[in-house]
Symmetry: C2
Subunit: 229 residues, 2 copies
């Protein structure tokens, strides 16, 4: 085991056994290095790894706010990990499409039963913002991604919405690269707007079957129009 892996293992055990809790500050680099019998470099490497995983946040300097604090931000690391692996391992686009359909059609079904009207209204306000005819494709797609994440979050499952949010962020680059492949952006945007409204309306009236089949067709249609299949 490499020295930084030993540090990671010990800190993970401290977190799992609640000796370190959310909001706690880690001991300083020097103290940790002495306690674990490793170099300060190894401690620093382990802390960087935890930082990228969203488990600690660090601030520069030496004041009372310096050092590493335990936080819980699971979304960012899943995103960067997925994005890097999309780049290296050629994860098939068909698998991404299938996974999105699985998660999103399940989520709208769930949302149709338990629909929280404030959350539904919030998702709807993203659609209002997308109605602006002068919107650049880039901005349109950022709102589009936010809408799909919000739609998935309506199901109220933290794990599913974290995976979905990470996935959407990870594929953002792919989606944007595909926009120039679209034959007629204005008419594509018009269809997307219409489809989003129809899904949300079905959720609102508690019609899970319709919401699920509309969202599946919407996802398939976009990938197919963007020739991402």
């Amino acid at each position: 085991m490499k020295a930084y892996e030993l540090v990671l293992e010990r800190l993970e055990a401290d977190i799992a056994e609640q000796r370190l809790r959310l909001g706690d500050r880690l001991p300083g680099e020097r103290a940790l290095a002495e306690r674990l019998g490793v170099s300060r470099t190894s401690v620093r490497e382990a802390i960087r790894v935890l930082e990228v995983m969203g488990v600690v946040r660090t601030a520069a300097g030496s004041g009372p706010d310096a050092g590493a604090v335990i936080v819980a931000e699971p979304r960012a690391p899943l995103t960067s990990t997925l994005r890097l692996h999309l780049a290296t391992s050629h994860l098939p686009i068909a698998d991404i499409v299938q996974t999105r359909i699985l998660l999103e059609s399940w989520a709208v079904r769930e949302a149709s039963v338990r629909a929280d009207s404030a959350a539904v209204a919030e998702a709807g306000s993203l659609l209002d913002a997308m109605d602006d005819a002068g919107l650049e494709p880039e901005r349109f797609h950022v709102l589009d991604a936010e809408f799909h994440v919000a739609l998935t979050a309506l199901a109220g499952n933290v794990l599913v919405s974290t995976v979905m949010a990470s996935l959407r962020e990870a594929i953002h680059g792919y989606v944007m690269a595909a926009v120039p492949q679209l034959d007629d952006w204005d008419s594509v945007a018009k269809s997307l707007r219409h489809e989003h409204r129809a899904v949300l309306e079905a959720v609102k009236r508690g019609d899970g079957d319709t919401a699920a089949s509309l969202v599946a067709r919407h996802i398939e249609g976009f990938y197919s129009a963007a020739r991402l299949e």
Copy 2:
């Protein structure tokens, strides 16, 4: 932006744009530090992060095999990230149960249609190994987890099986901690064996509906018996 984040960003761009591909070796620490105008410490931190993400593998020493090589091992980082976040953010068990039911019932449905008989036989051989009456609960659960991962993999979606494998590994500790809560291990093990066989039989005969409802009931039953709900 911190110096190691700059290094990460540059290496990620190199990977995304195929200037660095699977199997390629990264430039040495010193060369990278000079090219990017940062310290060797920052380069080393970034490489550790990529290593934990499963994007590079490093070997110690200074021979021809030394240094960091681009690999693609997405499972390990998702596992350790999920595990740490289970520990810090108190992800509700109910959300894990629901996510497992979603992924696994979808997967057995898919598998029932496309069942690859070699892969089905391999999943079956894990069940044979679990029939050993003298098996310790720990070993039983390792095989159990492997069976569920193999079952999910039958659907042939890399992304879904990576998420599922990471999730199973991440919750292994939770599941093991729950075993002492089981009233009668022998009878629980007997039921689990029976349920696993029934799911796999349904997949084999192409009965997706039955496979999906059996696997859902099996997952719910275990969490409920282990009082993990």
